[in-house]
């Protein structure tokens, strides 16, 4: 660590330097099974219960490629405007690490399945920035380590570690951009917008859960600076552990400011891996390797080459969803949105969520309102992305339906949503468990009305005397007695009926 660990003011940074970004996104595919074995690919199971000889790397075990994962990889490549390889192979990336059962990762190296594409991303003000895609390739995930002992529960200072290989072998697609140059002061925003656009695209392709909080979408940000006007790239750092959209933007901005300060002091940037700290918004160096890694890649002899036929590729092309901006235009027309409304929807990362909610049977207005207001607030309070909230579009649609049917009031509906978010189950389950149904049974309501009228004889008298406005007090009492689960309109009608008798 040098003495110049301060940050340069962002305005000065962009005046003196041009940033160059390189973003590497790892996406876990939502296939039923792992990349090379038939173990279930599901998040959150008991440790080491979704394992077999292959994904545990037991002696003698062999991999067999998951055809659906290849299909997903090709579809992702096509959606990113890439060329799909006519012939490609897996390679072994050799390095020792306890979370990697074979001590090599089966990955693609110089023969990726998809190369040379691009993704157009829309910035806040509507400007379009084209991000070049270098490659998209298939590989496998590692297991998970739990660090025990020491003060922090982190790897540093731990006494020992515990390994769970359920995630080992889960299919990953690694998507690598070409160097992103020319973004200037908008580089942090471009980084965020790119990951957002990629996430929306992958979500639309239905190939991944794209949950940054659960690690099914992970981003590493490479950042370097070169003096303004220069074309020679500077030394880069790679920041890992960037697990929200907001963090992508913050990490890039922080690295720009940090590197600028180092360079301005006449010092050199150390090429290294850095870790992003969500709490402080800063990056810190990872472990320095004593020697440069030599991964000794070679073609995986246990797997045969993949040669996707052009017919297969063209058939897969027909399964692609609309491109995000076409999608936006169509949504705007279908849902009758103003430009501003559309932008809010897109910026909130809610477009696909709303679309899926509509698809699941909700009215567009209701669906949009849930996602951009109440759920957006909830995401904000919980500090997660909207899409990472533990509620599905289908569940939101169900809540909308329950309101439309009159089973829930809007107020009750929010409580149901809270219950879903708190992991109490699906909407119907929460309604059941929390007993949140609107009391629509007239006899039950009548009993409550009669009770309230009896308890407030003077008010009852006023109503009978024609002062209809006085009914409000009785409605209030009934709502209180039914814990808000009554339909206020119906209660009012019943009060007036009773008093007219």
């Amino acid at each position: 660590m040098t003495a110049t660990a301060e940050l340069m003011d962002f305005a000065d940074v962009v005046e003196r330097f041009d940033p160059v970004l390189g973003l590497e996104v790892h996406v876990e595919l939502s296939t039923a099974t792992k990349m090379f074995c038939g173990c279930a690919n599901a998040f959150g199971a008991e440790p080491n219960t979704q394992v077999c000889p292959t994904c545990l790397g037991l002696p003698g075990s062999l991999p067999v490629v998951n055809g659906t994962a290849v299909e997903s990889a090709i579809r992702i490549g096509l959606a990113l405007n890439c060329e799909i390889a006519q012939w490609c192979r897996f390679a072994r990336k050799n390095y020792f690490y306890p979370d990697m059962p074979k001590n090599f990762q089966t990955s693609q190296y110089d023969e990726p399945i998809a190369v040379n594409g691009h993704l157009d991303v829309v910035l806040e003000d509507g400007a379009v920035f084209r991000v070049g895609i270098e490659r998209a390739h298939m590989e496998e995930d590692t297991g998970k380590s739990l660090h025990v002992g020491g003060a922090t529960g982190r790897i540093r200072g731990a006494e020992h570690s515990l390994l769970d290989y359920n995630r080992a072998g889960v299919p990953l697609i690694e998507i690598v951009t070409k160097p992103i140059v020319g973004a200037g002061e908008r580089a942090p925003e471009v980084a965020r917008a790119y990951v957002t656009a990629l996430r929306d695209l992958l979500r639309a392709l239905r190939v991944s859960d794209v949950r940054m909080d659960q690690g099914s979408l992970r981003c590493d940000a490479n950042v370097s600076l070169m003096p303004t006007g220069s074309t020679e790239f500077g030394t880069r750092t790679e920041t890992k552990n960037v697990n929200s959209l907001r963090s992508v933007e913050r990490a890039v901005r922080y690295e720009m400011c940090r590197q600028a300060a180092v360079l301005a002091a006449g010092e050199k940037i150390v090429q290294e891996t850095r870790h992003f700290d969500e709490a402080t918004g800063s990056t810190s160096p990872g472990r320095r390797k004593e020697t440069a890694e030599d991964y000794r890649y070679f073609p995986e002899p246990d797997l045969v080459p993949i040669a996707p036929s052009r017919e297969w590729v063209e058939q897969l092309r027909t399964t692609l969803p609309e491109l995000p901006w076409e999608r936006r235009k169509r949504a705007q027309e279908q849902w009758g949105l103003s430009d501003a409304e559309l932008r809010d929807l897109v910026n909130a990362g809610a477009l696909e969520l709303v679309a899926e909610t509509v698809e699941a049977g909700a009215a567009p207005g209701e669906a949009r309102s849930w996602w951009v207001s109440y759920l957006a607030q909830q995401a904000n309070t919980r500090g997660v992305e909207l899409a990472d909230l533990p509620i599905t579009p289908e569940q939101v649609a169900r809540v909308v339906t329950l309101v439309a049917e009159g089973t829930l009031t809007n107020k009750l509906a929010r409580q149901v949503v809270d219950g879903v978010l708190d992991g109490e189950g699906g909407p119907d389950e929460v309604v059941e468990k929390r007993g949140l149904k609107v009391v629509s049974d007239d006899s039950a309501l009548l009993a409550a009305v009669d009770e309230a009228l009896a308890a407030n004889p003077d008010v009852a008298e006023k109503i009978r005397g024609g002062k209809v406005a006085a009914a409000g007090a009785i409605v209030g009492a009934v709502m209180k007695a039914t814990k808000g689960q009554a339909d206020a309109k119906r209660v009012r009608e019943l009060i007036l009926e009773r008093c007219a008798q």
Partner: protein, 514 residues
């Protein structure tokens, strides 16, 4: 009754299926033989008497119930190379690093043997992780050649070959990466077959060099090998490199060949695998065998395969490269040996200490060689160039097979050498696989069949017969015809000339098991 251990697998199967003898009696006879002679031979690392007798009982019950045997070899005992996983039965690969490991799953070959009603007697000794040509690299001590206990039984599958030659089992399974089935077959006077790469599943075969490893049958006769080949061969969806096609008709070919007529068969003698650098007795036995083939009606021609000369070099780059990666998983984290886990060492240090303690010198040597050949800056000159040589060797084979149906050569340049003779000279040891390696590099089928004894030392010589990919049956036909003619000329099978071994009396099987 005749000594059951002297019969062929086909004869044993016939008697068992006719219920003249029970599978349990056969298994017991072989377990007794193991108990008697294995202290002198050390072919086995683990004897599973209980498992073997249970499997034999199941066969007897099936037959007693009037049901047909599960396969033509149901009830016949077999010795399994300790490189195939066996659920709940120790699997060490001849290495200390796997001492005590009980796999939680069966290899496909193991499963197919069990399903065929074959009685697995135990696991045989081998060079550590199949790296070697003498079985001296086993962490559990060398196996001795039943022809002469001072000599090596070949390797890496010396245990399987010695078990056959010592009449401890009529059948065995080996694996052949550069000759580990054929060279032990040659030096023990037994039959060893490396099927076409992809012909026998590698699932559960602990990998040495994935693109070269191939499991195959070992036996005392060509027919027995063919019968076993049909049991273990065929497509396996768990092995991506397994060929999805029917097993070549090897049994039919062996029976056809036994009729003794090779007219119309074109045999090519590889000029690069003949002449200088070979033991004279090996060459004269080989040339006599070629004459015998001619006498059987085969058309014999000389064929040049110029790139075979580079096979050994390519092999000793490719195999170590793949092994350096395959053996990385032995890291003390999930199974096997763990050294230095005393709270002071990190995982990385424990890995390093364990691998140092758990691997023998040859394994370390090859891991480092492979690490070097794959590393940045050397890849193109070593690994990359070796893979190109591999293409050239495959082209030599393709050109040769346009002219001939099978190719022949000596299996290995010398007869069994003395234990200890080459341990400190890796390059000299590597030359044992000179003739066998080309077929591994190209993925062809190849086998070794006994072709007499060398005049200078009286030790067995092997005739290698090679055939194109998935044409395994061609070599079985030639081998069977040759075998019949040679036995007739010599007045009986060569293998019956193995000297009687010193039997250890009064020792139980349990004590013999490691």
């Amino acid at each position: 009754m005749a000594d059951l251990t002297r019969l062929t697998a086909a004869e044993l199967a016939g008697r068992i299926h006719a219920r003249e003898v029970s599978a349990v009696e056969v298994a017991q006879a072989h377990l007794d033989r193991i108990a008697a002679v294995d202290p002198a031979v050390h072919a086995f690392l683990h004897v599973d008497a209980e498992g073997a007798l249970a499997a034999a009982r199941a066969v007897d019950e099936t037959l007693a119930a009037g049901r047909p045997p599960a396969s033509p070899l149901a009830g016949v005992p077999l010795a399994l190379k300790d490189v195939f996983t066996t659920e709940g039965v120790p699997t060490t690969c001849g290495s200390k690093i796997l001492d005590g490991w009980l796999p939680p799953y069966d290899a496909t070959v193991t499963r197919r043997l069990k399903q065929a009603g074959i009685v697995v007697l135990g696991k045989t000794n081998m060079d550590e992780f199949a790296m070697g040509s003498s079985t001296e690299n086993s962490a559990y001590g060398p196996t001795r050649n039943p022809w002469n206990p001072e000599r090596i039984p070949g390797g890496s599958g010396g245990g399987s070959a010695a078990a056959l030659a010592a009449f401890q089992a009529p059948l065995a399974i080996g694996t052949d990466t550069g000759g580990s089935i054929r060279q032990p077959g040659a030096v023990t006077g037994t039959v060893g077959v490396k099927p076409t790469y992809g012909g026998v599943s590698r699932y559960g075969l602990v990998a040495f060099s994935s693109s070269l490893d191939q499991g195959g049958p070992c036996a005392r006769t060509v027919l027995d090998a063919a019968l076993l080949h049909e049991v273990i061969g065929g497509h396996d969806p768990l092995d991506s490199t397994s060929i999805d096609a029917p097993v070549p008709p090897v049994v039919a070919a062996a029976r056809q060949g036994a009729a003794g007529d090779l007219s119309g068969v074109r045999v090519g003698v590889v000029t690069e695998l003949d002449g200088e650098g070979y033991q004279p007795g090996v060459l004269s036995a080989f040339h006599a065998a070629v004459e015998q083939l001619r006498a059987l009606g085969a058309e014999v021609v000389k064929v040049s395969c110029p790139h075979f000369d580079y096979g050994l070099s390519a092999y000793y780059l490719i195999a170590p490269s793949e092994c350096s990666s395959n053996l990385a998983r032995f890291d003390a984290m999930r199974y096997g040996l763990r050294e230095g886990d005393d709270g002071t060492h990190s995982a990385e240090e424990v890995m390093t200490l364990t691998r140092e303690a758990g691997f023998g010198p040859e394994v370390k040597r090859r891991i480092m060689l492979g690490t070097y050949a794959l590393s940045a800056g050397y890849y193109d000159a070593y690994y990359g160039q070796a893979q190109k040589v591999r293409t050239l060797i495959a082209r030599d084979f393709a050109a040769a097979y346009e002219k001939v149906d099978v190719l022949v050569s000596p299996t290995t340049p010398t007869t069994a050498f003395r234990i200890g003779e080459k341990v400190d000279d890796p390059l000299a040891m590597y030359r044992s696989d000179l003739c066998t390696i080309p077929a591994n590099l190209a993925g062809n089928a190849a086998m070794s069949v006994p072709c007499g004894l060398a005049e200078e030392d009286g030790l067995p010589v092997g005739l290698q017969i090679m055939a194109p990919t998935m044409q395994d049956h061609r070599m079985y036909r030639v081998a069977a015809a040759y075998e019949v003619a040679r036995d007739a000329a010599e007045g009986g099978p060569l293998i019956h000339r193995v000297p009687e071994l010193p039997a250890t009396v009064g020792r139980g099987v349990e004590e013999v098991a490691r």
